[in-house]
Amino acid sequence: AQTIHQWPVAEIKAVGSPLSLGCTIKGKSSPNLYWYWQATGGTLQQLFYSITVGQVESVVQLNLSASRPKDDQFILSTEKLLLSHSGFYLCAWSPYTSQNTLYFGAGTRLSVL
């Protein structure tokens, strides 16, 4: 069975500090991977997607970057956090090129102070 694990569960970071959030998918080769973000009380937005190792497409510009260093790993990062980066980050995978079948991680709650 496939599993998706996000880390960390929660983070409290200072403005201007770096950030790295991770997502690992086990049990599925070559999944399509996605990052989403939801500000507190806001609408969920898709940030990035990746269909293969080393290839990441940006959907929304939020001064964040994403990388896929391995087939089963998706990393979201920034060198300098902003207050506006606070919120809930979700990683998901799909076995297809379309997002019509998505499996989500438990999410990471980020507070930037």
Binding site: S98, N100, Y103, F104, G107
Partner: protein, 110 residues
């Protein structure tokens, strides 16, 4: 402009009542999905319904492409159905750009 509009914003029902959630789109789409967001935030896919009517257990979704709308009907609601229901669409298949609505917060009371 908000591409995906959901209504109502919140809905309070008694257990066993039926719930009707609505979603409308600013553009034509045949890639419509419904999700359930648990109180802790985790998202669960409920139904992918590009057109027509689809059913999964107590959930029934109807999407009318030419009217740019979709609905989600929850029959015989249970307390555990409480949470936020999100509608989302892709402008075209394979576009890899999923756009979400703000959601309907459903509260089921005993």
């Amino acid at each position: 402009e908000q591409q995906v509009q959901q209504s109502p914003a919140s809905l309070v029902l008694q257990e066993a009542e039926n719930a009707e959630l609505q979603c409308s789109f600013s553009i034509f789409t045949n890639q419509v999905q419904w999700f359930y967001q648990r109180p802790g935030g985790r998202l669960v896919s409920l139904l992918y319904n590009p057109s027509g009517t689809k059913q999964s257990g107590r959930l029934t979704s109807t999407t009318v492409i030419k009217e740019r709308r979709s609905s989600l009907h929850i029959s015989s609601s249970q307390i555990t159905d409480s949470g936020t229901y999100l509608c989302a669409m892709e402008p075209t298949e394979g576009a890899d750009r999923l756009t979400f609505g703000k959601g309907t917060q459903l509260i089921i009371q005993p």
